[in-house]
Subunit: 506 residues, 2 copies
Amino acid sequence: MDGLSKKVYMELALPTKEDAVSSQERILRALRSEFGQVRIPCRILRILYPLCEQAEWKLTATLAFNGQEWEITKLEAGDASGRHYGVCADLGSTTVIVQLVNCNTGEILSQESVYNEQIAFGTDILSRIFYAKDNAEHLEEIRLATIRSFQKAFRAIQEKTGVAPEDYAAMTIAGNMTMMHFLIGMDAFCIFSAPYAVRADRPDFLRAEELGFPFAGYVYCYPAKANYVGGDIISGMIATGLPDKEEIGVFLDVGTNGELVVGNRDFLICGAGAAGPALEGGSVKTGMTAVAGAVQYVKLDGQEFILDVIGGDEPRGICGSGIVDLTAELFLHGWVDIRGRLVPEASDKIRTVEGEYAVEYAPGLYFYQSDLDEFLRTKAAAGTMVEYMMNLIGVPMDAIGEFMIAGAFGTHINKESAVMIGMYPDMERERLILPGNTSLKGAYEMLLHRENLKRVDRIIEQMEYVQFGEVEQFIHLMDGARALPHTDIERYPSVKKRLKELGTWK
Amino acid sequence: MDGLSKKVYMELALPTKEDAVSSQERILRALRSEFGQVRIPCRILRILYPLCEQAEWKLTATLAFNGQEWEITKLEAGDASGRHYGVCADLGSTTVIVQLVNCNTGEILSQESVYNEQIAFGTDILSRIFYAKDNAEHLEEIRLATIRSFQKAFRAIQEKTGVAPEDYAAMTIAGNMTMMHFLIGMDAFCIFSAPYAVRADRPDFLRAEELGFPFAGYVYCYPAKANYVGGDIISGMIATGLPDKEEIGVFLDVGTNGELVVGNRDFLICGAGAAGPALEGGSVKTGMTAVAGAVQYVKLDGQEFILDVIGGDEPRGICGSGIVDLTAELFLHGWVDIRGRLVPEASDKIRTVEGEYAVEYAPGLYFYQSDLDEFLRTKAAAGTMVEYMMNLIGVPMDAIGEFMIAGAFGTHINKESAVMIGMYPDMERERLILPGNTSLKGAYEMLLHRENLKRVDRIIEQMEYVQFGEVEQFIHLMDGARALPHTDIERYPSVKKRLKELGTWK
């Protein structure tokens, strides 16, 4: 591993009259050939004595890279090189996920997922932004809530592994632009208001102590490309390796928003749209995140729903992958038509509830027409972003090597269902990739492979940002994409075939 | 000035839709061509908004160099580039001298000299070292006393100039090895005990806050060459320019110890000896530092002493330059013989006091035979160091371009008297240089000229250290040097001539 930190065990020659260099130099000269001129801060200078003598000059130095040079952040007696820990994190607006990593082996020792305590100031990002807007105290509350979320994860990790935050040698964080602003303590209103010039988009290496983290060293914060294409997406690029591949890849991250990158080693185009919440179950009335009680898979057997509920409990709601499945099954069996409308004649499970059609997918749990509308709008937006970009670069869909849907949503999705409703293009299934939480994975990769710093620079430089909001053609494209699976069914031969088999296709 | 800090006034373009880069990048791109990739810490990122907007993007950045890169340590609205302050300091074991400098012009705005509060733990360095030895609490007391001394000087400077420490953009400190150890908070016993391997001899740039100074940015601490050739001497090299000259120069710093450098742009040899205290009046019974009441110049007119007392008051004691004068006058008029013994027949002012001869140089103030012995031992040590080194390099004394005696002692000394007693060689008087406090001057030069960093590296690398204690020949040489002006009077033709004129020479 050649990451952002190192633990180097040194057995140094004891000082003698002939070799009476300073403790500082004795250590530095052992490190110089590999690490250049290493910085030793006051804190470490102060403990050189009696530590070095007591340890008989058998020492372990923790080195942290700060973007420019290495700094000794810890000095221990004896061989402590095996205890080399780092943390990587995905700072999401809802969830903060932290992994404790053995930085010598890359092994993930623990993963903790905690709610982002910013939620106390609004479940959606905009509420939080307005709460903090031009109010330094409120901004500080949100910053501290962010830090508390991390601390909570750190504590949980410590309870499980015994590794305290003081032992972290390095940390990497990926998150969107707003999350990074709040983490640092910067007003984030700028992200969403003209002229859309943010405070900082390349935090890179910040001192952990200054951020509020309880360890010596540096925190690498992934830089952003644009206001809606944040560090989480750049991290995703590192995680998936899309920018290094020969074949053109599509990377769609569906989280709170939808972000898209299309490209390969020769070009990278990115864009973003409000494509997210519905896909995560956010704007579906009985929607919920993928926790115990959430319906995650759905089959329609005649008139009966066969449900797979997380934790095996009674269903309490439905999560993203369940919604995809449900929509696909309803469509496949003719309970929803190609225009995305519930067909009440298809089942008595579809009835009028609170003034609109709804299907009772579990006892007392309804999926409404308005939920479906919202969901299809979202999937249309995501699909249209992809289509628009492919048109832009003049490349047909079948030239795509890999089509990736990242995000917590993406990891559990049923590929066939997703193709059925037109979320995915109808292509070879092995090229439909579910890379999972690529924001977290990219943070992990950065922690362990310093060379990724150069790749990030290149990605940021190479990437072109397309503002979909300004594209006239976009609305027109989206209209076609709202149908199931698409107005142009010929793009979905496997779906057409399946519908015909079931007799749904007339 | 191209020093360790910069204040850069920038009138930046206001963000527009077409130019919507981040505040961070807006600032960085204005600095990149001159300063490379500048680091912006959390603290500054947090104040970008609303500062930048309120200032309408007319901003002044304070940049501090940390040895590797520039960091923005302060950001102010409007043009504050004129308020560019730095401090340089000579950290002496007795006195801490701090200068406030206008870093744009080099003007010294204020100079404060305070007692080093370490004195509370011992007037001599060794007492302090033993006090702190293997006792972390005592060491911390001494460290804090050091910081308090600086703070006292800072306060005095603020009272006189209105410039607060928070406004310092950079600081440089020169001091000997022990002072640097105490400043940082490192046990200093190592300096004087085998195997003489110290804790740290190249502190270089340390974060001001970590040291305990109340400003953001870095403190440059001059590195040392050897245990007794500390940062104050390296600073002296920068101040005098000796290592860049074609002619061979001799640099003798007489403070608490005596340090010597001989060399030019081709070679540098250094050494040190316990040559100091007596020259500063330290081991003379009525000796005192050069403050009000100290006899600083002496003439002998027949049987009467004509004294110049600092402040014009009644004499309370005698300082270094007074002792040199007194010794020279006594010798010149035959009151002291060539072997350095008081001649009671010469005057009834020489009488037996407390069991030894003593001369009453002022009413009730005596200069004892034992004082004279100690003083001559010291001058012999200093003189012998020079002689030994000249022998070592095989260069005659008359090949010396400049003979410099630095230190507080050196600034006020009467050159003729110093030659008379053999402290200086008998060479052209304009080549006898009194460069003053070169430790402070070198700190000043470093503050204003960053290129000196490279010069320091070169000096440290080039310098050869000679351990006088191990030289057998040394004792023999010193014997000769204890005479007035020297056993070999032929080396002092001008002294011989003067003695003959006065009839003292028989």
